[in-house]
């Protein structure tokens, strides 16, 4: 046990040195870190939001809405394709109830042709040859299209991926901040913004899908029918921002997808407005529609609410326009940001929010570090008066252990949270226990009349089974915590797992090396501990 071949000595030393060096970048302020020589890895420990201060939002996508949209889009496609077919297929009795799209060709003879066209609108998903829609015929008259599970999953997945990109763009248009926007599970997006103390603005920006549409107002609609919520064919009833309802044509003339830019600006009366610039095709469409409809009102619709319906006084050919509503400078600016980043394919709602101010985080770090230093000093003192020379070895092992945990966390770019600090203190406890077990066992063996070298050898050997068993149980806890835990608990589990590994290394291998060196050099007759 105590014979260390030369290579093993160097292996232990090398491991220790590398681990300790890896801890260095994490302990330096950022400015100093950048000046480090290039050969030194600069990966370092990240501070969790509870320590650095910042906001954390967990957003959940409305998946029911995604499914609804999927069916609505297919309805549009089917209407267009049936119209385009030659000969044209007249369809009627279109239903989108019950999570499926169904319709009837007016002429039953065209049923097969309609099914063929419907089939052409479906796509294969993945390599399994599965389609995204099932097309079936019911009662030999009706075509029923149902999205498959795989199709729904694909739709939700791509909606969330787009939403993630839009969210990232809205929060950080330049892409320079250290924000985190990641998918979590099937329908969630996690947003973390370090340094942001008040997430209210963020919540407002992310709370809008920002779907902008321009549609013509249906002037022929009967006001009484509109008030009752019944729309004429080809039109729909939408609420107005100022209150009341209005009928607009279903057809979208121009949409927010064709914007190049959006800025907060001031209108003629000095009120806050949003100036938008269309791209080429958007500008052309907008010019044509305004030219054809001079004197008629045009509805500007945001997220299915009509924010204003001004009259078209003259054709607008420059490709830019202004949206005025009852905006404040702030809300106009937020809308501009949302429009620039594109619309969210699905509505998101905040289901979890936490924010910590930088001062509170700083306070936690200071107190945590102070507690850590004091606890270490107290332990060192206690170990030294209990085990003398062996207590010194224990102390060295403890310090190396602490540095190794930091080093490993640095290498893995792990995040240190408040519970992580607690985990750190606990692994120091585990490291102490390993050393205590060994030292007590050596005492015991000395008491039984063993010679120094034999006593030390037995002490390490007998104690290591208990150390091994005890640490495996901690590993089991750590793994389960990591698997099921969320956020801060995960941070705790990571530190615990790393700490267990390093404490076995320092407690058993590293200390044994120190003791072996001492025994070889000094050949003591008796052990004082």
């Amino acid at each position: 046990m105590l014979d260390f071949p030369r290579w093993k000595v160097w292996l232990v030393i090398a491991t220790t040195v590398i681990g300790v060096i890896a801890a260095v970048p994490s302990m330096l302020p950022e400015a100093t870190r950048d000046k480090l020589p290039g050969w030194l890895s600069k990966t370092h420990i990240n501070l969790g939001l509870d320590l650095s201060g910042g906001s954390h939002l967990l957003l959940e996508a409305d998946t029911a809405d995604v499914r609804k949209q999927q069916i609505e889009r297919m309805e549009e496609t089917i209407r267009t394709e049936m119209r385009r077919a030659s000969p044209k297929i007249e369809i009627s009795d279109i239903s989108t109830a019950g999570g499926a799209l169904s319709f009837m060709p007016r002429n039953p003879a065209q049923l097969d042709q309609a099914v063929d066209i419907a089939r052409q609108q479906t796509n294969g998903i993945g390599i399994g040859g599965q389609r995204d829609w099932n097309v079936a015929v019911r009662d030999s008259t009706r075509v029923v299209m149902t999205p498959t599970d795989a199709g729904i999953k694909y739709e939700i997945d791509s909606a969330l991926e787009t939403a993630r990109n839009v969210v990232a763009k809205r929060i950080d248009p330049e892409g320079t901040k250290e924000i985190t926007v990641v998918r979590q599970g099937a329908d969630r997006i996690l947003v973390q913004v370090p340094g942001l103390q008040d997430p209210e603005g963020l919540k407002r920006i992310l709370g809008k899908t920002a779907k902008l549409e321009f549609k013509l107002v249906d002037l022929n609609a009967d006001p009484n029918e509109v008030a009752a919520g019944r729309a004429p064919a080809g039109s729909q009833i939408l609420p107005m921002q100022q209150g009341g309802k209005i009928a607009v044509k279903r057809r979208v003339m121009v949409s927010g997808d064709e914007l190049n830019d959006a800025r907060q600006d001031f209108g003629q009366n000095g009120d806050a407005v949003v100036s938008i610039k269309f791209n080429n095709s958007g500008g052309r469409k907008f010019g044509r529609v305004t030219a054809e409809n001079v004197g008629k009102p045009f509805a500007i619709i945001l997220d299915n609410v009509v924010i204003s319906a001004p009259n078209i006084n003259e054709p607008i050919l420059g490709g830019s326009a202004q949206i005025s509503g009852s905006f404040t400078v702030e809300s106009a600016n937020e809308l501009a940001i949302s429009l620039r980043s594109g619309k969210l394919p699905v509505a998101l709602k905040v289901i979890e929010e936490s924010s910590v101010s930088a001062e509170l985080g700083q306070d936690s770090i200071q107190k945590g570090v102070l507690a850590g230093v004091l606890a270490t000093l107290a332990l060192v003192f206690y170990m030294m008066i209990t085990y003398f020379r062996f207590g010194v070895y224990t102390t060295i092992a403890l310090l190396v252990n602490a540095l190794l945990v930091l080093g490993l966390m640095g290498i893995f770019n792990a995040t240190l949270t408040l519970p992580g600090i607690a985990g750190f203190v606990l692994t120091i406890g585990a490291a102490v226990d390993a050393n205590v077990l060994i030292n007590e066992r050596i005492r015991e063996e000395v008491r039984r009349g063993r010679h120094t070298i034999q006593a030390v050898e037995f002490g390490f050997k007998e104690a290591s089974t208990a150390i091994f068993d005890a640490n495996i149980t901690n590993v089991i806890s750590a793994i389960i915590l990591f698997w099921f835990g969320s956020g801060p608990i995960k941070g705790f589990a990571v530190v615990l797992a790393l700490g267990i590994a390093t404490s076995v290394f320092t407690g058993v291998t590293f200390t044994r090396l120190l003791v072996a060196q001492y025994l070889q050099r000094n050949r003591p007759k008796t052990l004082i501990l």
């Binding site: 997430p199 289901i351 936490s354 936690s364 945590g368 209990t386 408040l418 606990l426 389960i480």
Partner: protein
């Protein structure tokens, strides 16, 4: 100068003779814990029941009644206001209105929380924040935490699952490394420790949140540590002294490891006390429960883990036949001339 020793050499306390008293004490503690949880209830953190907690630092100490009046005027539900040791710092807790304050019935009984209230918590956070900023200029909102009922349920069920799985996993491991009696002993010990920890939280009304799950798992880990050290020694002694009765053998094992138990517990108590006194107050509950866990864990490894082995009829045959080749025990005792 001599090294410090709290436990003199060759200490021989007959711990196991008191096992019936200890059992009575354990049963008393277990029943009172269950009663406390049933009557007092746990102070569920908003992690589990949904709602928000806000930590605010005012410019100067504020009138609590005044603050309470303002917040209740917002009509956001029950407001729990608590002043910290620093009178300028106030913690505000608002559980979700209309939701049960006990996640067990809510999450397990009626399925996941209602969809309609999923973002109710979040709106309230915005309302309260706006009111505080308006009424108390210069206020510093230190931390806001808001969780919807649905997420609360998820956190609760994954937390309970993690706890159960960890206990089972650890017991299985001990069964595998030792014998089935030891596995049962460990499971009973863990159960004992967890129930007492719940009782502690019901008694002190400390907030029972997500971090506490981590604390309980750590308590389990440490209690297990003690148990395993003693079990390891029992296993060793069972092989060494094949003729010894089980009770003196357990006493011997506990005494032989006593010095280690005391030293380790002392160093942990030292470390945790410092963390409790100067550490960040957001982990106060965590540290407090850990401290208690060390005491419970040491007690239970002496008086639950060890006596269970008597009650389950462990003898030296449980090991020697199964794992050591014939004659090994004799060889071991020969190499210890000082002992029999």
């Amino acid at each position: 100068m001599h090294p410090l020793k709290f436990v003199p050499d060759n200490t021989n306390i007959r711990f196991l003779s008191y096992r019936w008293w200890a059992l009575a004490l354990s049963i008393l503690l277990l029943t009172s814990s269950v009663a406390l949880v049933a009557i007092n209830g746990l102070n569920w953190g908003i992690d589990f029941v949904g709602g928000q907690s806000i930590r605010v630092t005012f410019q100067k100490p504020v009138n609590m009644g005044d603050l309470r009046g303002r917040l209740e005027g917002l009509d956001v539900g029950d407001v729990v206001i608590q002043q910290m040791t620093d009178p300028k710092v106030v913690s505000i807790r608002i559980p979700l209105e209309g939701e049960a304050t006990n996640p067990i019935g809510k999450c397990l009984g009626q399925g996941i929380g209602k969809e309609g209230q999923a973002d109710g918590a979040n709106k309230i956070a915005s309302t309260v924040r706006a009111e505080l900023v308006k009424s108390y200029p210069g206020v510093n909102i230190g931390a806001v935490n808001s969780v919807s009922g649905k997420v609360g349920c998820e956190l609760f069920s994954t937390g309970s699952l993690a706890l159960t799985l960890a206990m089972l996993g650890i017991s299985l491991f001990i069964w595998f490394r030792f014998e089935w009696q030891f596995g049962v002993g460990a499971l009973v010990t863990l159960f004992h420790d967890v129930v007492l920890t719940f009782g502690f939280f019901a008694l002190t009304r400390l907030s029972f949140d997500l971090n506490v799950i981590a604390a309980i798992l750590t308590i389990i880990g440490y209690s297990l540590n003690d148990t395993i050290v003693i079990y390891d020694r029992i296993r060793e002694n069972l092989r060494k002294y094949r003729k010894m009765e089980i009770e003196p053998l357990l006493n011997l094992s506990v005494n032989e490891t006593l010095s280690r138990t005391v030293t380790t517990s002392m160093s942990l108590i030292l470390t945790l006390s410092i963390l409790l006194l100067v550490g960040p107050d957001s982990i106060f509950g965590f540290t407090a429960s850990m401290l208690l866990g060390i005491v419970i864990g040491t007690f239970s490894s002496f008086y639950i883990s060890a006596p269970v082995l008597i009650w389950l009829n462990v003898t030296s045959d449980s090991f020697v036949q199964a794992e050591t080749p014939k004659g090994a025990a004799e060889r071991i005792s020969e190499s210890f001339p000082g002992q029999k």
